[in-house]
Amino acid sequence: MKSMKPFLVACLFTASSLAAPPIVIQNATILTVTRGTLTGSILIRNGKIEEIGERITAPADAQIVDATGQFVMPGIVDCHSHIAADSINEGSVSVSAMVGIEDVLNPEDIAIYRALAGGVTTANILHGSANSIGGKCTVVKLRWGKDAHDMIFEGAMPGIKFALGENPKRAGNPSGQRIGAANVLRYPATRMGVEDVIREAFTEAKAYQQSWKDYNDKVARGEQAIAPRRDLKLEPLVEVLEGKRFVHAHCYRADEILMLLRVADEFGFKIRTLQHVLEGYKVAKEIAAHGAGASTFSDWWSYKLEAFDAIPYNAAIMTRKGIVVSLNSDSAELMRHLNDEAAKTMKYGGLSETEALSLITINPAKQLAIDNRVGSIEVGKDADLAIFDKHPLSNFAKVEKVYIDGELYFDRNKDLADRAVHEADKKKLLDKERELQRRAAPGAVRRPAA
């Protein structure tokens, strides 16, 4: 009976998707990102994009969404976010590969809804940057209202966070502002130490990998063998060595970027994405040669020493030098207007509209290897769409509707209509709280509500 449950749930899930009527978004300017721009319609069925065209015959049972004068773009993909998680940094050790974001996903974080309202549908939720090798990361879809498990992007490659430079070395600096760690010094305190931590860890991981290989070989030969003790810290690193887990590395300066690429070369693994990578433009050639993606900010700079050579042309230079580049948020606030951030690359470095939109759609999807599912408006892809009232690269644009898997997750009109109801509900709760306080302790000093 117990084993039946997942099966039943799967049946129910499929049944409900099947039951949902097809949707036709009509009369919209459709920014497919990969297949040009057209004015026409999109047919969504069973959570997928079934048809795109200037003229589509809507099925009889279809729900019609009139998007006259509006713009549809692929749901935005954010390659670097820390929303929807109860904790971010396990900073007490230099290598915290044993921990993972998946275990602390919080589907009730209001930041999810707010990001949806900015057109974001998929996000890479990362561990923090407190240590050279951080915890495991999880790609989620912003299915607001679903539970943590249902947010996880099915089949997306898992990742792990690395961090270089000021943040991980702060923990070893007596006057540094330590992130997520207690008031004890923790190795490393320099960029030299950061390299060493990574090399030590992968040296260990290789030996661990070998011990399992030896064991498996023995078993295969029918010999008696004792299995190695499982090491939860090294297992994710072995996955990295075997290409089963992506490395997303926080970095700033050109020297440390190059260092990491060379360490990865030495141990025979790939850096999937360099995150922030504010001086990536200085070593673009080396990044392109390694094949790493770059996920950067539009125009952040000067908030710390290692960000002082950051330039808003970074995304454009790296694009021109052949790197797959994305713009990320790293912030619950910035996440709400990644389209505005993308527009800045047209000013700084002269990217085209399509190139600018690619930075927040197909490129991050490629970086996360989910571009077969999301990142552009193409037949067969997930119906993850954001409808804007104006061109999304205009600073005057705002999001009207957001679909994930063909399901409507944000609707500005509904949001506006619900406000009075929420306000009334809140007032009821506050009145009740006041009344309870009054009864419990008449005349006591009370904290004013909100």
């Binding site: 952040w300 700079w301 021109r320 606030e333 104006k390 600073n395 644009a397 004013p448």
Partner: protein, 441 residues
């Protein structure tokens, strides 16, 4: 050969023209802000000042002419809240001079600590911002860090400066644009997602009773400070025996005389209410800075003609259950309440994004012309310098930008910038790095 000679001539002419603060821009769409836009209009600049705006003008022989066909002319933008020149690298204490020790420091002057060589200046001005208010703001412990002693209440005098000049003296527009004051509040724990009124230096947790005690003590000390300043003013005026000069109280005199406004940092409705009370009780001019909500304070502010410097529009709502667009709609809420406002970035790093803060407000209801005013003319009026800057009107300094489109749109490029009629270099560290590394073999 011919082309080389031509290029040489051209370069020589440009060199001469660069020093010339008398010229004509013609054929452009002129946006004076104070009046309706003029399609195919001209702006005449003579000796660094605007000498005429209109539709047709025939330049005298020899006058330098800038052809503006297809381009737009706007007044230079004003960022009404920055720490320009006071802070270079946020996390590096040695480069931060934003806030002193001590609770009441009205004698401190931001202007004399503005580093005219700050890299932030050319970066900011490349996007069309010609002047900024540089505001001392205490973070406790002298700024830059999250640790330190109690934060100040009066942090010092803000300066309004041009983003051009070899020295801060040459940058000067207003030495004392306003007195920076943090209104005491009942503080919730500060930090990430904490209360924006809470100074970071008090980042710990403490009881509500304790918070209320601190708040009442701070308010009493603030009232006492004003009271002492007023007695000092009287003693000085009466030339009382034994009168001794005091730099702190001396600095308060322009405030008490209503010559200098108090720039009150107040995020929440409660803090704004206390700021209004301060204006009423102390009979001083108040400007609300970086409010994050308006609540029921609209009519109170309007009735007293108290203006506001609105902070970033691209900001998270204050509370989890606020509408997602609470910060986006705030400028329109101020506009509908009839409260005059300008925009400030309250930042250096993102000062150049000032027009996009205004643009988001437009997306969420604020009329476009009001958004433009809030980064030009309104700012000049609020700071009392609208006789000199803020719009394209005869007699004002020629602080102008020539763009290829609406400056509120990120994709728009600033083509030329003038401060006091002088062509300002749009180059900066970031462009130099761009060119250098684009050309890396």
């Amino acid at each position: 050969m011919k082309s080389i000679a031509f290029a040489f001539l051209f370069a020589a002419a440009a060199l001469v023209a660069g020093d010339d603060d008398t010229f004509l821009i013609r054929g452009a769409t002129v946006h004076p802000v104070a009046s309706a836009e003029i399609v195919d209009g001209f702006v005449l600049v003579r000796d660094g000042k605007i000498a005429g705006v209109g539709r047709v003008f025939t330049p005298p022989k020899g006058m330098r002419v800038i052809e503006g066909k297809g381009l737009h002319v706007y007044p230079g933008m004003i960022d009404s809240g920055t720490q320009m020149g006071l802070s270079e690298i946020g996390s590096t204490r040695e480069s931060v001079d934003t806030g002193e020790l001590g609770k009441f420091d009205p004698q401190l002057r931001a202007e004399i600590a503005i580093n005219p060589s700050s890299e932030h200046i050319p970066v900011t001005r490349a996007n069309g911002i010609t002047s900024v208010v540089s505001l001392p703001m205490s973070a406790g412990g002298g700024g830059g860090g999250r640790r330190g002693p109690a934060p100040s209440i009066i942090a010092g005098q803000a300066a309004l400066v041009h983003l051009d000049g070899w020295t801060w003296e040459e940058m000067d527009i207003l030495k004392s644009a306003g007195m920076s004051l943090r209104i005491p509040t009942i503080l919730a724990p500060a930090g990430r997602g904490g209360d924006p009124d809470a100074p970071p230096a008090l980042g710990g947790r403490y009881s509500f009773a304790e918070a209320r005690r601190n708040y009442e003590t701070d308010l009493r000390e603030l009232r006492d400070f004003f009271e002492h300043a007023r007695r000092y003013q009287k003693a000085k005026a009466a030339n009382e025996k034994g009168f001794r000069p005091d730099l702190k109280f001396e600095a308060m005199l322009p405030v008490l005389e209503g010559k200098e406004p108090v720039v009150v940092l107040a995020a929440r409705e409660r803090a704004i209410r206390d700021a209004v009370q301060l204006a009423d009780q102390q009979k001083v001019r108040v400007i609300i800075a970086n409010p994050r909500e308006i609540g029921k304070m609209g009519p109170e502010l309007k009735a007293r003609n108290i203006p506001a410097i609105l902070g970033p529009t691209l900001e998270l709502p204050l509370r989890d259950d606020d509408p997602y667009d609470a910060a986006y709609t705030l400028p329109d809420q101020f506009f509908k309440a009839g409260v005059k406002f300008a925009f400030g970035s309250f930042d250096n790093e993102f000062s150049r994004n000032l027009p996009y803060q205004a643009a988001t407000a437009v997306a969420f209801g604020l009329p476009h012309e009001e958004a433009l005013k809030a980064i030009t003319l309104n700012a000049a009026q609020i700071w009392g310098v609208s006789d000199r800057i803020g719009s394209i009107e005869e007699g004002k300094w020629a602080d102008l930008m020539i763009t290829d489109g609406d400056p509120l749109e990120a994709k728009t490029q600033v083509k030329q910038l003038f401060i006091k009629g002088k062509n300002v270099d749009l180059d900066n560290k970031q462009k130099r790095l761009y060119e250098k590394y684009m050309n890396r073999p």
